[in-house]
Amino acid sequence: MKSVVILFFTILVLPAVSQDRLLTYTYQSNVLNKGQREIEVWNTFHWGKVDYYRAIHHSIEFEIGLTRKLQTAFYFNVNSETYFKTDLNYQGSTVIASSSLQRESEFSFSNEWKYKMSDPVANAVGSALYAEIEISGSEIELETKLILDKKIGRTMHVINLIAEPEFETEIENGKAEQEMEFSFEEDYGFMFNINKSWNVGVEVRNVNKTTSEDGLLYSTLFAGPGFSYVNGNFWINFTAMPQVAGLYHRKSYEFVDGLELNDNERLETRLIFSYMFQ
């Protein structure tokens, strides 16, 4: 009887045994053990720009631990968006504007690498280096992150510093040309551990983009609540991330309700669920 009681309290206190990812946008420093495999399904919903805009981004990710400190992952991504478009047709000296909803879909492939340098409990600060390359028909993106995290009591604090050069194909003067854009981002995530299954917290993102031609295009701040649920080999994370402030926009654009809605959405939500194989 005594051992049953001890086992019961042990199970109550200890976390479930799945990859301990608590946040959806902000990455933690932990990596899978050598040989461990995990599959993750990502769903990100984007809503609202200056005009009608909706997009949904799906990713299927397969992660595998290569060594005790290194993991890699492969993603297959599908991005589908619908947006408001106005075309101007010239008939002699008359200009006729016609509006329509434009629909686009794109497929891409990503490969990520994460190297853990220190642990958020055993060391002063947990840290990891992260790199991901994404290739699609129209662009190539390289995303690099410095990940820092720290567990303090029942709370987890995570900071990501992100730099992302992007090479996009655009039509200029009737020719397809490569334009370089550069995004940099600072993310902060906080999670409070309620019990063995549930964590709640907030995530904050400061997103900035520059181009080689125009300099800084915009700077925005997203922030919102999230939760994480873990049960055995399964976990699910969700964050709702409204844009809370437009901090900067290029001269030709204006803020709408204090938000930058030319290149960014009013709201993003992300749901990730995952299963780890033994």
Partner: protein
């Protein structure tokens, strides 16, 4: 405002820096473990257990509690019997030192 927010976050990080995990400095007579075994047990605990969850402080459980927990998780974390024994010696010693 934004700069102040990030300053506060960074300050939180800096103020909280320091290992929260017991570092063995002498052998354990009670659990018949040398200093090298305890150090190796700590290393295995950090390497193998932190991939599935943020590490828990040894003081969170009693020796019996740790035995049950490690037994339950040994297969999932892909550790062999020797590594399991070293982890347990470390956790028992650290738990006793804290309590």
């Amino acid at each position: 405002m934004i700069r102040k927010l990030y300053f506060l976050i960074c300050l939180t990080f800096i103020c909280s820096c320091g290992s929260a995990l017991y570092i063995p400095k002498e052998p354990s007579v009670i659990y018949n473990a040398s200093l090298e075994e305890l150090q190796m047990g700590r290393k295995h605990y950090v390497d193998y257990c932190s991939s599935c969850h943020a590490l828990y402080k040894p003081s969170d459980l009693s020796a019996t509690g740790w035995t049950n927990a490690v037994e339950e998780m040994a297969e999932r974390s892909h550790i062999n019997n020797e590594q399991k024994e070293l982890i347990l010696k470390y956790l028992w010693t650290a738990s006793a030192a804290a309590n």
